[in-house]
């Protein structure tokens, strides 16, 4: 009886935690996308109006952004300063591929970021700004859809966790 009780509690808490984790994952992704958006916006303004070189610019932005974005910008800036790569794209890609694995970003988010890296440092103003706008558009769209999903399904994730636990317990009993 006691063992059964412990089992029930364990199953219920595990499935509830899964529900929480699922909702939290979306929230963390939302936060990371928001930070990247902020970083790219700062980048756009600094490049368009001040023409600040990437090394200096990314370092400055890394102080103003948190989480994975701050870390990525910091590392990219350091690598660029040391000229540890044949192109900006190569450096941008290597850092995001490594840090992306530790983040909550989806594979598509990473793909978009890598595609943006291909145009980094371009001399043509229109091309440069166009690629930044495209990335910003994607980031905003994703954030919107996550927010909507969380609003709509946020409570559902928690209750699904508890209910699936209960279902498992009843089936096992």
């Amino acid at each position: 009886m006691i063992i059964q009780g412990i089992g029930i509690i364990l199953i219920l808490s595990a499935t509830t935690l899964c529900g929480f984790a699922f909702a939290a994952r979306e929230k963390y992704r939302l936060k990371e996308l928001g930070e990247i958006e902020r970083g790219i916006l700062l980048m756009k303004n600094q490049i368009s109006y001040l023409g600040t070189p990437l090394t200096e610019l990314l370092e400055q932005i890394s102080w103003k952004t948190g989480g994975i974005t701050g870390q990525a910008f910091q590392e990219i800036s350091a690598k660029m300063a040391e000229r540890q790569g044949n192109s900006a794209e190569e450096i941008w890609e290597s850092i995001w591929l490594r840090l992306g694995k530790k983040s909550y970003l989806s594979a598509v988010d990473l793909e978009e970021l890598l595609a943006f890296g291909k145009t980094l440092g371009f001399i043509e103003k229109e091309q440069r700004e166009g690629s930044m706008d495209m990335l910003l558009h994607y980031l905003r769209e994703q954030q919107e859809s996550i927010k909507k999903r969380l609003e709509k399904n946020g409570k559902l994730y928690y209750s699904m966790g508890v209910l699936s636990g209960l279902l498992l317990v009843i089936t096992l009993l």
Partner: protein, 314 residues
């Protein structure tokens, strides 16, 4: 041997690796590294000129190398150097000058930028401590520092000599006192400033106005730093000479470089002639490659009198 790590890291990785393994002779100094698409890597030192080769023969520069070199030299941010690209050169960390050649993009008849860079020339900035020391006494007349023009063809060491004259005056080497020197470093070659600190030794009493057109820079220094001497590299534009005129009227001593070959040649140049006419006391130093970079062949005063002439064996 000069420290070349700074320059090598600006080149594509495979060129960097190869150059790092290159063995140079004792006292041999690289002066130029030239990259030309689909042609071999060219190196010029103070002792020889040659095409770089490895175990597979002459090392060929590909289009990819050119693209990567331009990206690295421009700090991956070519947009930040649009103005420099328009002029055809860029000064990188350490004061080294990189010349570009490629396809010009025109806008309303003038060059907007360069595309498809086909040739790159990295001119290694040479800092030769002491190369000016023996010439400092010639720059004085009755204990008064004269306006000085350093004249030569490209590649004879005008900038190197000018930098060392600045250093000597700033430290007071060969003079009775230290001079407050203002430097207008339009291309960043004289002082090679990095985060507000000169990377070259230009002396303790030197103020640098960097990245500023010469004419404006001279007047700016005149107003803000009250220099005794103002040094500028490569006077050429009409505006530069107008700036110099104001400077001469203000009683500041000018030390500058100019492209030229001999006294007759520079006297035929109206702008230079007019400027020399404005100078009360001046010295014109002609350099020659014959005795090595930065060696003075002749010294004239502004009245057309030869003060010094170097002869073979001197």
């Amino acid at each position: 041997m000069q420290s070349l790590a700074e320059i090598y890291k600006l080149l594509p990785n495979d060129i960097e690796k190869r150059l790092k393994n290159e063995v140079f002779q004792r006292n041999e100094q690289i002066q130029e590294i030239r990259l030309r698409a689909n042609r071999p890597l060219y190196i010029k030192t103070n002792k020889r000129k040659y095409f770089f080769s490895d175990e597979n023969g002459a090392f060929m520069i590909t289009h990819r190398h050119m693209k990567e070199a331009v990206e690295k030299l421009g700090g991956y941010s070519l947009y930040a150097f649009e103005e420099e690209l328009k002029q055809g050169y860029l000064t990188v960390s350490g004061g080294h000058r990189v010349g570009f050649c490629g396809r010009a993009v025109l806008e309303e008849g003038s060059v907007k930028t360069l595309r498809q860079v086909s040739s790159l020339n990295i001119r290694v900035a040479g800092e030769i401590h002491g190369c000016a020391e023996s010439w400092i006494p010639y720059l004085f007349e009755n204990n008064r520092l004269c306006h000085t023009l350093i004249v030569s063809q490209p590649g004879c060491g005008k900038t190197t000599l000018l930098r060392d004259i600045i250093r000597c005056l700033s430290y007071g080497i060969g003079c009775e006192e230290m001079y407050t020197v203002g430097v207008v470093d339009e291309r960043g070659e004289l002082a090679a400033m990095k985060d507000g600190v000169p990377q070259m030794d230009i002396g303790p009493c030197t103020d640098v106005q960097e990245n500023c057109p010469k004419a404006e820079g001279m007047l700016f220094l005149l107003r803000s730093m009250t220099p005794e001497v103002i040094a500028v590299d490569e006077l050429g534009k009409e505006a530069d000479f107008l700036g110099v005129e104001e400077l001469l009227h203000a009683g500041v001593t000018l030390i500058s470089t100019i492209h030229g070959y001999d006294m007759d040649g520079i006297m035929r140049n109206k702008k230079i002639n007019r400027m020399l006419g404005e100078m009360e006391k001046g010295r014109i130093l002609f350099l020659s490659k014959k005795w090595g970079v930065g060696s003075v062949a002749e010294i004239w005063d502004t009245f057309g009198k030869k003060q010094y002439e170097r002869r073979d064996g001197a």
